[in-house]
């Protein structure tokens, strides 16, 4: 009698195990996930100049992606144990370097996300390459991530200096004016932006009649020397292109308005601007300014639906960096689901050449050649105050720049 009981119990176990095997794509017994779970790491600025355009709200966006992924796959998901690790790199390359190592080595992070500030972003790319772990950069602008510093484990997700210059420089030259005066902060990012813009403007048939590198950081906060110079150049520029960012951009725009350059026939184009910048300057101060946006929350119903959910969670409207962090986390989880493993090489293989469509990536494609994620970009213009119908709705999209034209061709400098 005892013997039959034992056999029955054993066969029940066998049946149960077999039943389980049919459910999930791979059961945890196969050790397909390191530590039986997925850990996403958000490494960005959580206290400094870029903490509002990305920062902690990007962590919220990544949490949304995890919730959406879990809801979509339910118990068919490769795992339901997905957590987020986060750290503040303070925009310092050395801090970014050590935090990235800590994340990969000690916190079991499978993917590092965000990392604004180009110098810090490049350091993390080196760490990803060394540790053979994945890295999706969202917050940084340098094209070196898909150029001479590219590597197998690094993907550049949202935007870069070429996209900004090509969108704003080309279209503004064609539609608003041919003669430009460029003002840039005199350090790596500003110099890179100035070169990209000059190239795009010249290619579109425009002329750069003057350019100046302003001190960086500009301790006096005063840009009037340059703003006074602009309308007196010969020939007179039609457009002032400012490459300043954050608080320096605020100073330039305030003083541009103070000296009434728009009334003197000099329009304003901004190299890099986030929704949060328009909010702090107010649309009235920027009305009519054109810039290239990687994504805009009120562009269509799909974006708006995401923005509403984001607002419930974070209490504000998302910038393009928030939406891109959401999308990047989601696409990584989808890739792990498809591969059935979080092994970095297998996931990279699945990602390369993949076409993707989600709330952030429209006509998206993950290029195999250089790991640039290409997608539609938008030429945007700040609305006059009278047309702002609700809080944070500051922009109208003038034109969609198709994914194929928005980014540069793969660079010969990149050897994966």
């Amino acid at each position: 009698m005892r013997r039959t009981m034992g056999v029955a119990a054993a066969s029940a176990v066998v049946v149960l195990v077999a039943g389980c095997g049919g459910g999930g794509p791979q059961s945890s017994g196969d050790q397909k996930l390191t530590g039986d779970k997925i850990v996403l790491g958000v490494l960005n600025d959580q206290s400094g100049a870029y903490s509002e355009l990305s920062g902690k709200n990007s962590v919220a966006a990544v949490e949304m992606a995890i919730a959406d992924f879990t809801a979509k796959y339910g118990d068919k998901a490769v795992t339901t144990d997905i957590t987020v690790e986060t750290a503040d790199h303070q925009n310092k390359p050395d801090v970014a370097n050590s935090k990235a190592q800590e994340m990969y080595d000690r916190k079991g992070v499978d993917l590092i996300l965000d990392v604004p500030t180009s110098s810090a972003a490049l350091k993390v790319a080196d760490v990803a390459k060394e540790k053979k772990k994945l890295y999706f950069n969202i917050g940084a602008a340098t094209t070196d991530l898909t150029g001479k510093s590219c590597n197998k484990y690094t993907f550049h997700y949202a935007y870069d200096t070429y996209m900004l210059a090509n969108g704003t420089g080309k279209t503004t030259t064609e539609q608003i004016g041919k003669n430009w005066y460029i003002l840039y902060p005199n350090y790596a990012f500003g110099q890179d932006m100035e070169k990209s813009f000059s190239t795009a403007i010249t290619a579109a048939g425009g002329t750069v009649v003057g350019k100046d590198g302003a001190p960086f950081p500009n301790t006096s906060g005063d840009f009037s020397t340059f703003l006074l110079k602009a309308p007196n150049l010969n020939p007179k520029p039609d457009v002032l292109g400012t490459m300043q960012a954050g608080a320096e951009l605020v100073n330039v725009v305030k003083q541009y308005n103070e000296f009434k350059l728009r009334d003197k026939g000099v329009g304003l184009a901004v190299g890099l601007m986030f929704l949060t910048d328009i909010h702090s300057l107010t649309p009235a101060a920027l009305a009519g300014t054109t810039y290239t946006d990687a994504w805009y929350w009120n562009f269509d119903a799909k974006n708006r639906e995401f923005a509403d959910r984001f607002q419930q969670k974070a209490g504000t409207r998302p910038t393009f960096a928030h939406a891109a962090n959401y999308s990047a986390a989601l696409q990584y989880l989808e890739a792990v689901q498809a591969a059935g493993t979080d092994d970095a090489d297998a996931v990279v293989k699945g990602l390369e050449g993949k076409t993707v469509e989600d709330v952030f990536l429209r006509n998206g494609k993950i290029r195999a050649e250089d790991h640039r994620v290409v997608h539609d970009a938008y030429l945007a213009q700040v609305k006059p105050q009278s047309e702002v119908a609700e809080p944070w709705d500051y922009v109208k999209v003038l034109k969609t720049i198709p994914a194929a034209e928005a980014f540069r061709a793969p660079s010969a400098d990149c050897k994966l």
Binding site: L53, N186, S220, D222, T225, V250, F259
Partner: protein, 293 residues
């Protein structure tokens, strides 16, 4: 020619901010021997206070121009009584560290509540036009700042040289022990002078709000140059701080305008001047060598 005049004018406007801040630092240093590192934070609080008053209570610029300096002056006096005067008898480094710590606390408190993004502040409508000077026109608001700052500096100079209070303050600054020997209670002037210096920083902050990015770090960026100004003028020298303030504003503006092909030069020119002055006159342009104790 009109370009040169415009650049000169702009240099003087930047200089006006340096002068107001340096003047406050100079009177505080003179009276208390305290290098007030928190000066930039109070400048920031002035600008932020103006923004909060306008956006949350609808208080206009003109009222903020009175409320913020007075309010911050009182706050400064309270701080002096509560903490700073306890350390004045020790090595000056202690107060330097204390005020540096205060700066970090004040900055982070503002950051915690209002974030790092700059806050909007519009130019008051009365001053939003521009003034035609024949050769060139210039924003009315900048003309106002320059006039206001010059008037204020003259007023401070008048108080210090022509009134009894000023006499006491100057005497206490130069020889506190001797002044006490004449039966003058030096101690009772210390707190108001500290409050006055802080009030000036707050005033500069309110003036800056319409033309500069209003954010928690705005003072931290500026204070480095202001310290250079104070050193150039001579620590504790009231006239020196004002003269050096306007002078450095001019040097910066001309540097940016005429050395723009050498951005590194225009970026460092203030500190080059400072180093030169220190080599030539270690006590600053208008400072006096400390008498041996």
């Amino acid at each position: 020619m009109s370009g040169f005049a415009q650049n000169t004018f702009n240099g003087l406007v930047s200089g006006a901010f340096y002068a107001l801040l340096a003047l406050g630092l100079a009177v505080i240093f003179g009276m208390l021997r305290v290098v007030n590192f928190a000066h930039g934070a109070f400048y920031m609080l002035g600008a932020f206070g103006a923004y909060v008053l306008l956006s949350e209570a609808g208080v206009p610029f003109w009222a903020a121009l009175v409320i913020m300096p007075v309010g911050l002056g009182l706050l400064g006096m309270a701080l002096e009584r509560a903490v700073i005067h306890r350390l004045t008898k020790l090595d000056p480094l202690y107060n330097f560290l204390l005020t540096f710590g205060l700066t970090l606390i004040l900055q982070d408190l503002v950051k915690l509540r209002y974030g790092v993004q700059s806050s909007p502040y519009e130019t008051p409508s009365l001053l939003s036009g521009s003034v035609d000077f024949g050769l060139f026109d210039f924003p009315t608001y900048r003309v106002f700042i320059l006039g206001f700052a010059v008037l204020l500096c003259v007023a401070v100079w008048w108080v210090l040289t022509r009134t009894r209070i000023g006499m006491v303050v100057r005497a206490a600054t130069e020889r506190p022990d001797l002044t006490r020997a004449f039966g003058i209670d030096v101690g009772r002037w210390v707190t108001p002078v500290f409050g006055f210096g802080i009030g000036l920083a707050g005033l500069a902050g309110v003036l800056a709000a319409p033309m500069r990015a209003v954010n928690p770090l705005m003072g931290a960026d500026l204070i480095i140059v202001v310290f250079a100004v104070v050193v150039i003028g001579g620590l504790g020298s009231i006239f020196g701080s004002v003269a050096a303030g306007f002078g450095i504003g001019l040097v910066q503006a001309w540097g940016e305008a005429y050395l723009s092909n050498f951005p590194l030069v225009s970026q460092t020119i203030v500190f080059v001047v400072m180093a030169g002055v220190l080599l030539w006159r270690p006590a600053g342009l208008f400072g006096r060598e400390e008498a041996p104790a």
